[in-house]
Subunit: 141 residues, 4 copies
């Protein structure tokens, strides 16, 4: 599984990890029974302190998304996919609403905001999605 951490951006690192794990489970990239990357490995990979990773994993356990297998690691719970699919949209929408509210309150018009969203989505899509010559493909599941 692939993480992308932005140390800035207002979201705590441990929370970014929590969210991205949930998203990966929602997508099916990470399935029930599968082990999370180990604290030490992820710590190295992301150049982030192990305690911060552990904090994220603690949260994921509290959220009943993963469970500890003693000495082996943390495994995705059976019920996690359903739960994560349910929360993914909410997690995004909450942040989105916060920004949109600020934009409107700041005097940007809805049309203007939608235009910015469109532009940014385009410029980001190259980075995130595999480039597709068939524009319909990215939107199909």
């Amino acid at each position: 599984m692939f993480f992308s951490i932005d140390p800035q951006g207002g979201v705590a690192i441990y929370d970014q990890i929590v969210r991205q794990v949930k998203f990966a489970i929602a997508e099916g990239t990470l399935g029930p029974g599968q082990l999370l990357p180990s604290v030490r490995m992820l710590s190295q990979q992301l150049a982030i302190n192990p305690n911060t990773i552990a904090r994220a994993y603690l949260q994921l356990q509290a959220d009943e998304v993963v469970e500890s297998l003693r000495g082996r690691g943390l495994a995705v719970c059976a019920g996690a996919p359903q739960q994560c699919r349910a929360v993914r949209r909410t997690l995004i929408t909450q942040r989105l609403r916060s920004v949109l509210a600020e934009a409107l309150h700041g005097g940007l018009k809805a049309a203007e905001i939608r235009e910015i969203v469109r532009t940014e989505l385009e410029s980001l899509s190259g980075t995130v999605n595999t480039i597709s010559s068939n524009p319909g493909e990215a939107a199909s599941s």
Copy 2:
């Protein structure tokens, strides 16, 4: 001028004040030479600790958006409108980009995200005082 503070939402309170002052100046709600509301007044109005307001105002001085008039308060700088108009879009776009990137990385499709944006903009438009010559535009999809 009117503030709207969201204690949640990941943006520090002092930063919300900084941003909203800049937005007000960008819009012209607050013009060069005009005084910011006093720390005490704003503190009472928003039910927020004076230190937090003071910190925001300190930041605005550092950004050369306002300047201290000894004994009278903080006044909007002459060059502020231009500067604030320039940064408004950027300030919003940065936050927006961060959320959109998370959404895409989290597996939401661009079309899905635009749909969420449209829905949220509609539901928020009612809340925010939007002055529109065409009242139908903000709420239409």
Copy 3:
């Protein structure tokens, strides 16, 4: 509120704090709206690292027993007393069952165990309760 931490004894320090806070709330020693002792104060009082206290307080927040009042501290939730009264007996019974099972499995007879319990309760009562000339008083609420 008064804590008594046993660094040995198999229960993690942070968990001892979690349990004792819940017990204090169950007893009414700590009421809704009251602030917990601050992390730093308790850290000094118990000679325990602040992070360990913070870990306990994080757990108490996750359990919805306390809530954070920004910059002021952690306050007991409105619903906490009811919840804590409900869990107190369970928390104790679980540990108790574990020891009793070991004792029985280890060949002690039930009568023998009850005798040990009686003796220990007597020797501990002096330490914990205020000494009462009226033996019935300690058992009355």
Copy 4:
């Protein structure tokens, strides 16, 4: 000899094994000169990692309860029965005292605690193989 391991319950697995071996020796189930079950056998029987068993056995050697007979295994020491009878009560009493202290400190009354103990002993007695000349005694209050 028969082990019963509770992976929860706060006592380390290796320590549960150490204690149960001592209890078996105290009871006479395991006599001087008798061999402990081999690490591999016990590991399979309990579905526990061999390293954990080995660690328990190392502890038992350090406590001079068993000694290594080169190539044959670990045998109960001559002095072990006496030693184990002496510690059994203490091992139980220590854990018991810890829980009872927590219960009292948590505001439960001695009578209440004794009642819980009585109830739990009854419900556990059915589970544990109690050999009693008077079958009614263990289950009677």
